[in-house]
């Protein structure tokens, strides 16, 4: 090594080799390329917008609205049977596969909630237009409330996560139903106060303050806060922003509301938007005669004729209620199905290559019927306004002008008791909201699910009123044990 000491250039060379990498650490920092980092997203107005849109995208999740949530909620209701692997759901004999699907759905709703939590925690610190900031926070809180409202109605009290998930500290016990509802109402109140009443066309599909109010009315209705529910529904009705779509034939429901060619309609309050190039997945499951019905579960849920859809004049194709033939058709019309399956759902339909039908989450008929029910319950009996509300829906259904009274015709007969009137509203809701995921919740909140479904000869039991929490939650959430599972599961 002597020569080294005598040769500074050589020593220098060696040193260069060693020093070459001072400041190497920065080379190891990963710069994302095909994705953004969380910090990157929550650093600008555009990022806040993108993260907010990301929550809407979660509604399209296969396990959320786009399939399992819709399938499970509808098949638990009295009027739908599943086929193939989904058949056990409509028979209230949930097997491992369908319990797994409910678990997937549970996770998908939480994925949506976590995205909302990211926005709620990330957006406040961004330096941006304060109005837009409040709009994004309002949208996030609206969508979080929607998620928790779905969860609490299906599962009862659930772990209440209000912060985006970070790291591996993930243990959290189940909250009470009251705690969950408190958050839902708090979120919706923030949303109704901070969301705009409408958007320009390019943002059509985002949540408005009216969507927040309608959802809040539904929450109040579910909590049997009748006065609040009626008042909130009334706000929407009085806004003048919405009107019922008039129809003169069954086909009009498709050309004016539920068809692939409809981009928006006066009744629309909040929908998941689809287009032909970014199509809905659920539609193909619901109704796909053009592609043939397979022998498995895929395609076509079928109607339970012993339920309201097969009763009274709805049993025939001659019903003058235009909804009958718009929403239902006979299975005999297809060559692929078992002839005993003679009622299928055609409310949402498009050719396989044309699945741009939007999925309504809330439309104007809902606050009207909420008002009818809530006002009656608050008042101890039907009010004239309540009659008018439900009659508007009925008149439209029969092809009449909703605003023109038709006493002795399609209007409900006067003098109904509170109970009879409410039953009429619930039946009206059933018919009006076929395939819009309302019926099961109606049956549960009115406490009639067991009685009505058992009346169809189906073996539903108490435990079906609170679905099984995902097993993965119990296995992996240290704050839960098997005892935290809903009773009976």
């Amino acid at each position: 090594m002597k020569s080294l000491r005598r040769s500074p250039t050589k020593l220098g060379l060696l040193l260069v080799l060693v020093i070459l990498c001072t400041g190497c650490d920065s080379v190891l920092n990963e710069e994302p390329k095909t994705f953004l980092s969380e910090e990157g997203v929550f650093s600008s107005q555009a990022g806040a917008d993108a993260a907010t849109k990301g929550i809407y995208a979660s509604l399209r999740n296969f396990s959320y609205y786009d399939r399992w949530f819709t399938a499970m909620v509808e098949m638990h209701a009295d009027y739908v049977n599943g086929r193939g692997s989904q058949a056990p759901v409509g028979q209230y004999q949930l097997n491992a596969q369908n319990i797994g699907r409910i678990g997937d759905m549970y996770g998908a709703i939480y994925e949506s909630i976590n995205r909302a939590n990211s926005v709620i925690s990330g957006v406040p610190d961004i330096d941006m237009d304060p109005n837009l900031k409040n709009q994004y926070l309002g949208e996030a809180r609206f969508l979080r409330a929607l998620g928790y409202f779905n969860l609490v109605r299906l599962f009862g009290g659930v772990p209440l996560r209000t912060q985006p998930t970070k790291g591996s500290e993930t243990d959290l016990p189940r909250a009470s139903e009251d705690e969950v509802y408190s958050l839902i109402m708090e979120d919706l109140q923030f949303a109704e106060n901070n969301l705009p009443g409408s958007y320009d066309q390019s943002s059509h599909g985002r949540a408005t303050s009216w969507a927040a109010k309608t959802l809040l009315a539904d929450v109040y209705l579910t909590l049997e806060r009748w006065g609040d529910a009626a008042a909130k529904a009334r706000e929407v009705m009085d806004s003048g922003e919405f009107s019922l779509v008039q129809v003169s034939s069954s086909e009009d429901f498709h050309t004016k509301m539920f068809g692939p060619g409809v981009t928006s309609y006066p009744e629309e309050i909040f929908s998941i938007q689809y287009t032909q190039s970014i199509p809905a997945g659920w539609l193909g499951w619901l109704h796909k005669p053009a592609a043939g019905y397979s022998s498995g579960g895929v395609f076509a849920w079928w109607g339970e004729l012993d339920s309201f859809i097969g009763q009274g004049e709805w049993a025939t194709e001659n019903s003058s209620d235009l909804r009958r033939n718009a929403f239902l058709y006979s299975g005999e019309e297809t060559q692929y199905l078992d002839p005993t399956i003679n009622m299928l759902f055609s409310k949402f339909r498009g050719s396989p290559a044309d699945e741009g039908v939007d999925m309504p989450i809330m439309r104007y008929a809902e606050p009207i019927l909420i008002f009818a029910e809530a006002a009656t319950m608050a008042n101890g009996g039907p009010t004239s306004e309540a009659y008018e509300a439900v009659n508007m829906i009925r008149r439209r259904a029969y092809g009449q002008d909703p605003a023109v009274a038709d006493p002795g015709g399609v209007d409900l007969s006067s003098g109904l008791s509170q109970e009879a009137f409410r039953d009429s509203v619930l039946l009206e809701r059933g018919k009006e909201f076929i395939m819009e995921r309302k019926r099961w919740f109606d049956l549960v909140r009115t406490g009639t699910a067991l009685e009505i479904i058992q009346g169809l000869g189906k073996p539903i039991t108490e435990k079906y009123l609170k679905w099984p929490i995902a097993q993965e939650e119990i296995d992996n959430n240290g704050a839960l044990t098997e005892d935290d599972q809903n009773p009976g599961w």
Binding site: M1, S3, L4, L14, L17, V18, C21, C24, D25, V27, L28, E30, P32, K33, T34, F35, L36, S37, V41, G47, K53, G54, I55, Y56, A57, S58, G103, Y106, G107, Y110, E111, S112, N114, R115, S118, V158, P159, R161, P164, T165, K166, G167, S168, T170, L172, D200, Q201, S202, S203, H204, G205, R206, Q273, T275, I278, E472, E473, N476, N477, L480
Partner: protein
């Protein structure tokens, strides 16, 4: 400068001594006498230096070369003290050897033979009457002339040596004498003159070990100095097998290296596991390093990216197995490292070599399917069993067509291979240039592979202290692929060969393909599938892969024994996949689908190393290396596709001609690895060897808090044979004990996994597409590499002058911090998080044995290896089983469970048939019903033993070699049976063997196949698990090297050969080949066969000509 002057003066001194030696010569002195004289003279004149042997070792280490010599020649001789101080090897050698009338001959790039230069001894003036003899000495194998061979008259020191053309002339006292031809590295031959005046001799190579040079990663070492476990394959071994990719040729050759030819397609991928499977998610492929550059490996679809390297360009492959050897590769070493060294030029005459070969191949094992009659019978029986109407009430009407669909998709394969290379060099520059073209037609119609490559290697001594070595490799491979991948039923050609009924033809009378819908017109027909012939021919799937691989290194000697080396390298792979599905196929309906995918991956490498070698006193030798390296890899891809074309004619060449476009798909990623490494080899008394290595790797792939990892190793070896008490045992020529411990890592997870990634999410707003961002995963800043701790105990033993060579190892590997997806409570919004949990162990023994049974003109040598590895999953996250993805709609076949081998087979235990002829499954938990809870471990995808045995016989120019190879005690999950051998359960044609099925009129509960019915529940079960042990005659080769000199052919060498590959496989496995693995390397579906491309049997004729 001072040193140089010293050196010069020494040379002058030596020259003086040298002339003195010449003068001292007298004819007739014995060798010993000559040596004695020399010794005295030298000792007297050079003021004594270091031991001659030590001096040689010094040069060996300094120049990464290896000497061969006879010990007795050099015993007690000393060398100048300053030997090894300059960077000019030629100069050093002359300085060392000339004083003793020794000379050197370059045997190959890095090996030199030292021998007496008898030309200096011959006394021309002799009183005796002398007869002149002349002739040529050649290499028996290659036929190349051998320069520098000693030719002695037996019992005297009179002799000469051959010139550059291998020719000699010698004056002998009597034509009744005997000549002794000797040359280091070759068997000595004694040839009685018997009155002849021309004697030509062909010498055969002597097998020796210990002197060979082994590439160890950031340097080379002599095998005798190794402390680690390293197996090597030479270019000769590779050349004996006409495989398209070098990794295939490793099969059966190395203990502890399991090579599964997972796909028989030309250029198809292989699966290599060194000492077992370490990882669940992190990948278990070894690291491949070509001339110092870690290259891009793996596969693109079925195509092996390693096939872009021409095996004929490879000089040697060294496989690093234990931690002492692999730890220098740190976070990438735990799966073993395969070091590939390409051929370099050597000093001397310019050589031009031309090689060509032609191979004819056929599918190794064709399956017998049911003919039309049998098919119609089972179809009718199935319908009757199901209570349905017979599909063929009049069988005679349909059975006049009888298509064997195997015959329709298989063809005779053909491969042609041409290589032209030239090499040579002078004192300062050595070069090797080669070019290769290979074209292969596979045994399935529509599958082709071609490769063109060009390689250039240069070595330049710029000054005695500065050497520059550029290498460049450029290649293009193109493979036309048929879908035999991963069981995709709809388009897999092999699966659809079963789908097609024998009563149908592939084409109509006009030559149009029978549409899939027509083949599937029957009530029993499966839902998916298409005409297999059309699938093979009308589905364009062409991979064009361009590779540029090169590096340049400069090595400079700073001071005595101290040098620095800087290397810059690049590996650039561009893949283009052209796809077009014609409208003839159902998946191409209504009017064709075209796509083009391009991806480019580039690795940049910079290595800076310092090396110091020193000898202190007689007993201490050091060799130390330290360095810093930096590697960065960038990759990008673009996929575009369109459908609905007016015509199929344009294929995918103009996607704008399609009516529908799908959204373009692009991506980009990169990773960086920076490392500091060091290694110290210390040798005490030439018998106690110590190696310490360490590497610190910083990887961008890992979490904020865990960017750096340290990977140390330590090893000790004891060359017991150097001890006096062993030296007395003359049978033992080498005995070494090796012990090593170390840590190495596995960083083979995708980049960016530690970050919380916000990815684009598509939605619709305002009736148009909109994009939002949302978290795709839960980031884990703690994410780090998997660590493998390994201990190895080994023994190397050579007996009877290395006639028998034995090497045995025991190892234990524990891979911990396994990367695993750990489930999260779904209320977090995430299903799982990637974490380091769990461990897997591999332990085993390896034995390599070589023996020269007969040495001499007739040469018979044998080498064999056997190894056994036991793989056990020790710990998993929360102890929970991981079930692999489904193999098909049936369900999963593999499980990862604590206490079992990784990806053990898993399913129901089948126990004969029920009284109705259905599968009878064992109710393991005796709860009265058979369901998923009754699944048990059914088998092991890894063999208990793998072995290989090769033999070679040489006589004169003839050489016969054979390789037998096999695996024992392993199972394969034969998922093909689910389509082709479950009594037409799914409506597919069946193996002919299924005629022995359960029948209602012969209800045999032990029938090998169940009742023909659509209602069969063919669950994943032991029915699909088969013993797939096999023994294969992998290769037999017969070559003849023409005696070019005797025949007066104006060539340096000429060899012709014939060989056979996969001549026979002995196995009980029921499908095409037991050596199979359908899914790619990172997949947990290990040992599963579904729709794989069958292996081939091939016959090759070839010739090698040298000028």
């Amino acid at each position: 400068m001072k040193k140089w002057i010293q050196g010069l003066s020494l040379i002058v001194l030596l020259l003086f001594v040298y002339s003195g030696v010449i003068q001292a010569q007298e004819n007739g002195k014995t060798l010993a006498q000559v040596k004695l004289t020399l010794e005295q003279d030298i000792k007297a004149s050079t003021n004594s230096g270091v031991k001659f042997v030590t001096a040689l070792k010094r040069l060996e280490e300094k120049f990464d070369i290896s000497f061969m010599y006879q010990m007795e020649l050099l015993e007690g001789v000393s060398a100048p003290r300053d030997i090894g101080k300059s960077e000019n090897l030629t100069y050093e050698l002359k300085k060392l050897l000339a004083p003793y009338n020794l000379k050197y001959t370059r045997l190959n790039n890095r090996t030199f033979a030292i021998s007496f230069d008898f030309s200096k001894y011959v006394q021309k003036s002799n009183e005796q009457q002398l007869e002149q003899i002349q002739g040529t000495v050649t290499d028996a194998e290659s036929g190349a002339p051998l320069p520098g061979v000693n030719v002695l008259i037996k019992g005297t020191t009179t002799g000469t040596s051959t010139d550059n053309n291998g020719q000699y002339e010698l004056n002998v006292p009597s034509l009744q004498d005997t000549l002794v031809f000797s040359f280091i590295g070759y068997e000595t031959q004694q040839v009685p003159i018997n009155g002849r005046t021309e004697i030509n001799v062909a010498l055969t190579v002597q097998a020796v070990s210990g002197e060979e040079l082994v590439v160890v990663g950031y340097g080379t070492q002599q095998r005798r100095d190794l402390t680690g476990s390293i197996s090597s394959v030479s270019s000769e071994d590779l050349a004996s097998q006409p495989t398209t990719s070098f990794d295939n040729a490793l099969q059966g050759k190395l203990a502890g290296v399991r090579v599964v030819q997972s796909n028989g397609a030309p250029g198809g991928r292989t699966r290599i596991r060194i000492r077992g499977q370490n990882s669940v998610l992190g990948g278990s492929d070894p690291l491949y390093v070509v001339d110092g550059v870690p290259i891009i490996s793996g596969s693109s679809g079925n195509t092996n990216l390693l096939a872009s390297i021409n095996p004929a360009d490879i000089q040697s492959i060294d496989v690093l197995k234990d931690a002492s050897a692999t730890a220098i590769y740190g976070a990438r070493g735990s799966n073993g490292v395969i070091l590939i060294t390409t051929k370099k030029g050597s000093q001397g005459q310019q050589r031009v070599d031309f090689e060509t070969s032609f191979s004819f191949s056929e599918v190794e094992n064709k399956l017998d399917l049911m003919n039309a009659e049998q098919f119609v019978e089972i179809a009718n029986e199935r319908a009757r069993n199901d209570g349905a109407a017979e599909p063929f009430p009049n069988p005679g009407e349909v059975t006049d067509v009888n298509t064997d669909w195997m015959d329709e998709i298989f063809r005779a394969g053909f491969k042609q291979n041409y290589s032209l290379s030239t090499s040579g060099g002078d004192d300062n520059t050595r070069y090797a240039v080669s070019t290769n073209y290979t074209d292969e037609k596979g045994t399935i119609i529509g599958s082709d592979f071609s490769r063109g490559s060009l390689r250039l290697n240069l070595d330049q001594d710029v000054t005695p202290r500065l050497q520059v070595t550029p290498t460049l490799y450029v290649s293009r491979t193109q493979s036309e692929r048929v879908n035999t991948e991963e069981g995709g039923d709809g388009s897999n050609v092999m699966i659809n060969t079963f789908m097609a009924p024998p009563i149908m033809t592939p084409r109509d009378e006009e030559g149009n393909f029978t549409p899939g819908t027509e083949l599937k017109q029957f009530p029993f027909s499966p839902g998916s599938g298409d005409n297999p012939v059309a699938l093979a021919l009308e589905n364009l799937n062409r991979l064009t892969s361009d590779r540029i691989l090169g590096n340049i290194s400069a090595q400079y000697e700073l001071a005595d024994g101290l040098s620095v080396k800087i290397l810059g390298g690049i590996d650039n792979v561009n893949n283009e996949v052209d796809g077009f599905t014609s409208r003839v196929l159902q998946s191409g309906l209504p009017a064709g689908e075209g796509s083009e995918s391009r991806s480019t991956t580039t690795t940049f490498l910079n290595e800076n190393t310092v090396n110091y070698q020193g000898t202190f006193g007689e007993d201490h030798r050091f060799n130390a290396t330290a360095g810093f390296t930096w590697q960065k890899e960038e990759s990008e891809f673009v996929n575009v596709s369109a459908s609905n074309f007016v015509t199929d004619d344009l294929l995918n060449n103009n996607l704008g001609a399609g009516e529908n476009f799908t959204a373009p798909n692009t991506g980009s990623e990169e990773w960086t690895l920076i490392s500091w490494l060091g290694r110290v080899n210390y040798t005490l008394k030439d018998r106690y060897l110590f190696t310490f290595t360490g590497r610190i790797d910083g990887s961008s792939r890992f979490g904020e808090g865990n960017k750096y990892g340290t990977f140390p190793s330590a090893a000790f070896a004891w060359r017991i044979s150097e001890e006096d008490f062993i030296q007395e045992i003359e049978q033992i020529s080498n005995l070494k004990l090796r012990l090593s411990w170390g840590l190495s890592g596995n960083q083979a997870i995708e980049p960016f996994q530690s970050l919380q990634r916000m990815t684009p999410q598509q939605l619709v707003l305002g009736q148009s597409s909109s994009v939002g961002f949302a978290p795709a995963n839960l980031g884990n800043p703690e994410l780090q590499w998997e660590t493998t701790e390994q201990i190895d105990v080994g023994v190397d033993l050579d007996l009877w002058e290395q006639r028998v060579r034995l090497s045995a190892d025991y190892y234990y590997k524990d891979t911990s911090d396994l990367l695993a997806l750990v489930n999260l409570p779904p209320s977090t919004g995430f299903g799982s998080i990637l974490r380091n949990v769990g461990s897997v162990e591999n332990k085993g023994v390896e034995l390599e044995l070589g023996a020269d049974i007969v040495r001499g003109e007739f040469n018979w040598s044998v080498s064999g290896n056997i190894s056994s590895n036991k793989n056990t999953v020790k710990r998993l996250a929360r102890g929970a089983d991981i079930i692999a993805q489904d193999v098909n709609i049936q369900g999963p076949a593999n499980i990862i469970r604590e206490g079992e081998p990784l990806s053990a087979f898993y399913g129901l235990q089948q126990d004969g048939l029920t009284e109705n002829g259905l599968f009878n499954y064992v109710d393991q938990n005796e709860d009265g019903e058979v369901n998923n809870d009754d699944r048990v471990i059914l088998g092991n995808p890894y063999p208990d033993f793998t072995y290989g045995l090769s033999m070679s016989f040489n006589y004169k120019g003839f050489s016969l070699s054979a390789l037998i190879q096999g695996e024992a005690g392993k199972e394969v999950w034969n998922s093909n049976k689910e389509r082709g051998a479950v009594s037409m359960h799914r409506g597919y044609n069946q193996l002919e063997a299924v005629v022995n099925r359960w029948r209602p009129d012969d209800p045999d509960p032990n029938a090998p196949f169940p009742r023909a019915t659509s209602t069969l529940n063919a669950n994943p079960s032991s029915f699909f698990v088969e013993d797939a042990s096999f023994l294969r005659i992998n290769n037999v080769r017969l070559s003849y090297t023409l005696p070019v000199v005797e025949l007066n052919i104006p060539l340096r060498a000429a060899t012709v050969y014939v060989s056979g590959q996969n001549l026979a496989t002995f196995t009980d496995y029921s499908w095409f080949t037991p050596d199979v693995n359908s899914w790619g390397s990172g997949d947990l579906r290990i040992g599963v066969d579904r729709g794989s491309y069958p292996s081939n049997r091939s016959f090759t004729i070839g010739t090698q000509i040298g000028f």
